[in-house]
Every structure is written in structure tokens, then in C-alpha cells.
Symmetry: C2
């Protein structure tokens, strides 16, 4: 029996065992051990309460409970354990500069690779050793918006349950299957096994996105490989792809940032796949 | 005569008057008063040395001077005053967690609105009250990459010379004209006067980007209006546009983030404007 189980109900402070245990989830190893992660803020909670299978606990200040009564009620109805905390406890769980009074604990959302690409996917984003959590989350959001069926992050990538990644995904982490932990070769093999053409986004490619569109390469079900934000894709990675494609740079910039390049590529595929053949030909 | 003019040549520390004066440029008001701003890191310096008309001073540690001898030589050849500083002085000028030993002082790059849209522009990005410096810099980079002729930030927007904006632009701040300070109505009037169709990116628009392409709206010279990252464009802003267009969201995401949406819109215009009529029709 841990001390907090004996503690009376009431408003928990930052040193309560329960808050301390939740705070450990800001670290990757604690998330991996427990299979739990933190979702901060009312926007995140709004997504989390739609998934009663995932939401476990909600830590909320009195002010926030009064500000978001509907969300708190939905969390309770969904079976989450809603716990009142004081401001110091909330701040200790939050990672933003101006926390908004609520942090949820959810089960991690990642799925096995073969689950992510099951069911005839049309569009998949495959991130190869992406390091920046904001980039990872933003690409997950872009993939969701573009109608992608899944996102895969290879082994060596940032954890998509990292707080910054969760916030950058703006809820999209809950919207589409995300797989982590597989090596690049295994991930590419799974995509190809799911019937996907594999295109590598590489700024040194001969073929640009407009050429690829004209050659009808973007009409097929596609997995897009995107490389690390600093180094792009290694030659060994582009060698695994069916084609290597660059986003054309018309100005003096050396390249686009990862998330913008991913958005342009994923939307190009979405547009070409959905285009009415009678209009476009 | 200020104290530092009397000081002997040598390695400056963080409390030298010169370093303290440069450090003030981390603040917007000092930048506006002096017409100077800071460019941090070797990548930024590489862009700055290509503009001898803009670079004024370079603060560099001994280690960095030895690491980037070619850049230091180019700065000297371009007429910049190259000043050796100790590590503490460099850290006091730098805004990144791991500074790379060099910070340049450059003249601010912004131009008057009518200069930015001079010369029959084909593509302009107009940011309306954008607040986040990383977003502003990333959109400037995307605009550059897409071949845009200029970027306009309306009055009430973040300063593009902010350190985070400069770094996010990855050099693009030096590549294309950027205008600041005009009100939205004045900016729209200038764009229209330059022959640009004005399209407002608004996620509530009826017309989506694919519709706009099919209707050939994207083939004309265009100024794109992009709203604040939190609130988008106000109705008064969209009312000024010729058409309001949304990036289609095919998944469950509510929207794209500002920079990704701007990248998708700007690249759609670039593609349609450059498309070979014989191939596409």
C-alpha cells in the first residue's frame, strides 16, 4: 500500500506520491515502463476524453475545473480518475510556460508496425530518425490533415509521446495509427508488403515533385520517407525507395524545413490520389 | 568618446561596453532605434557575409575563428569589424542553448512596402499579425523556397529580426524583400496595385485549394493572406480578399499549423503559375 492510497481525498500538492509518479512521465523511460503519457491543456484533454479506452487520470486545478466543466464531466463519464491538485502540483506536471490547469494521463497510443499499415493504406508518412519532438508532432498533424492512414517513426526517433510532440500534434496523435521502434528496412518492407510505392523526399534528388506528378508517380498508394531535420536521408535510406523526389526550390533557400516539406509532399499525394481523372487529363 | 573606444584591442569580455551595446539588440526597441540586428551562428554568418552592404560587426571566439577561417576572412574583406570575444561574452550575445561561437551585427533588412511589391511580383506572402517568431521565420523560409517575390508582415506582427525568427528563416531573411509596419488595408491595397490577386487562407472558406486550382484562380499573380497562428484571419481581413480559400483537411485534424498551411498554399501557386499549359490542360 503506497502512502497516497492512505491519504484522504482532497487537493494534492506537488509532493504527493501520486503527483510525483505522474511527473515521472515527463521522461521517456518512465513512459516506456508504464505505458502511460501526459497530455497537457484543455485542447489535449478534449481529444483524450474522446478516447475513454486511453484516458486514465486527469489532474486539474479548481480554477480549471470550473472553467472546463464539460470536459471534466466527460472525463469522469469515460471512467477517468479526476484528481484535484493545487497550482504548484499542476505546474510541476506541466511543461509549458503558462499551463492551463489540466494534465491528463493516458495510455500510450502507438501500435505495432503491421497494425499501422493494415487495411490497404493509401498514404503513409515514414520518419527516419527524426530528433526534434516539435517536428515529429507537426508532421503527425500534417499527416492527419492530408488524410494519411498512418505515421511510422523508425527506431532512433524521438518518442511521439514527448510533451512537445504531443502539443505540436494538436490532437492528431489520437487520430491516426502511429508506430514506433521498427528499423528502417523493416518499416520499408512492411510498407511495400502493404502495396505502397516508397518515395524518399531528398533535396538532392533529380526528380522534383512536379515531375513526379506529371509522371503519375503520385497517384499510387504511397509511403513517403522523410529524413532527420539536420542531415536528411542517408544514401542507404534513399536506396531503399522506389524513387527519390525533391520538393523544388524556386528561390535562394537551401531547402524547406522538415514539417513544411512533409506537408507539401503529403498534400501533393493527397491531391493526385483524389483527383478526378476526367478533369485532370 | 565611449570607454570602449579607448580600450586596447584584445579579447572582449561580457561587460565591455561594446558587447553590452550589441547585447541590447536582443530587444526589439534597441533594434528599431539602431537599425541593427543580431545574426547568430555560422550558417547565419555565411548568409550575412554575402551582403557586405548589411554586415557591420562580427563577434567571434578564438575557437570559432579557427573553426570558420574562411567566413572570418570574408567578413573582414567585406568591411565588417571582426571582434574577438571570450566565451562568456559570446554566450551573453547568443540566444541558443549551444551557441556556435559567432554572432554578427547586421543592418536590418526590411524595406518599404512599395519597394517589396515593386517590379511585377508573381507571388507574395502577407502575414497578418503573426506573433510567434519561429512561425514568422519559417514562413519567410517557405516563401523563399517557393520562389515568392516578397513577404509582408502587417503592423502588430512579430519583428522578423527577432533572433528566433532569424534562425527559423535559415538565411531566407537575406534572400527576398521583407516589409513590416504597414496596416492590413494599406498592404492589401499595395498588393492589388501591383497587379496581384488577393487570396485569403482561411480554414472556414467554402472554396478549397483544389477547387481554386481547377478554377484557374492560382495561375494569376497572387498575394496570399495568412492569419495569426491562434486566431486565423478576422472576418474584416478575409473581406479584403478577392477569394477565400482553405487548405483541405482530409483527416480528423482541425487544421494545419501556420507554416505548413503557408507552404502548401505557396507551393500550389508556384506549381500552377509555372505549369506548362500544353501538359496540364
Amino acid at each position: 500500500v503506497t502512502p497516497d492510497r492512505l491519504a484522504p481525498a482532497g487537493v494534492l500538492g506537488p509532493r504527493s506520491a501520486r503527483v510525483r509518479r505522474a511527473r515521472r512521465l515527463t521522461g521517456r523511460s518512465a513512459r516506456e515502463e508504464s505505458g502511460l503519457f501526459l497530455v497537457e491543456g484543455p485542447q489535449g484533454l478534449r481529444e483524450a476524453v474522446r478516447r475513454p479506452d486511453l484516458i486514465e487520470e486527469v489532474y486539474v486545478t479548481a480554477v480549471a475545473a470550473n472553467r472546463y466543466p464539460g470536459l471534466v464531466a466527460e472525463a469522469v463519464a469515460g471512467g477517468a480518475d479526476v484528481v484535484a491538485v493545487d497550482d504548484d502540483a499542476l505546474v510541476s506536471l506541466a511543461e509549458t510556460v503558462t499551463p492551463q490547469g489540466v494534465v491528463a494521463v493516458c495510455r500510450t497510443v502507438t501500435v505495432p508496425l503491421l497494425v499501422a499499415v493494415a487495411g490497404a493504406p493509401r498514404l503513409v508518412a515514414l520518419l527516419v530518425e527524426v530528433q526534434n519532438p516539435g517536428n515529429a508532432g507537426t508532421v503527425i498533424r500534417c499527416a492527419d490533415a492530408s488524410g494519411a492512414d498512418a505515421v511510422i517513426l523508425t527506431a532512433g526517433s524521438v518518442d511521439p509521446h514527448n510533451g512537445k510532440a504531443v502539443r505540436a500534434s494538436a490532437g492528431s496523435l489520437f487520430h491516426l495509427p502511429v508506430a514506433t521502434g521498427a528499423g528502417l528496412q523493416e518499416a520499408v518492407r512492411a510498407c511495400r508488403g502493404a502495396g505502397l510505392t516508397v518515395l524518399a523526399a531528398d533535396r538532392h534528388a533529380d526528380l522534383d515533385l512536379d515531375d513526379a506528378e506529371r509522371a503519375r508517380l503520385l497517384d499510387a498508394p504511397t509511403a513517403w520517407l522523410f529524413g532527420n531535420e539536420a542531415h536528411g536521408l542517408a544514401p542507404a535510406a534513399t536506396a531503399l525507395a522506389d524513387h527519390t523526389v525533391r520538393v523544388p526550390v524556386y528561390g535562394a533557400a537551401e531547402s524547406l524545413n522538415l514539417a513544411a516539406a512533409a506537408a507539401v509532399c503529403l498534400y501533393a499525394s493527397a491531391r493526385c490520389q483524389r483527383r478526378d481523372p476526367a478533369v485532370s487529363s
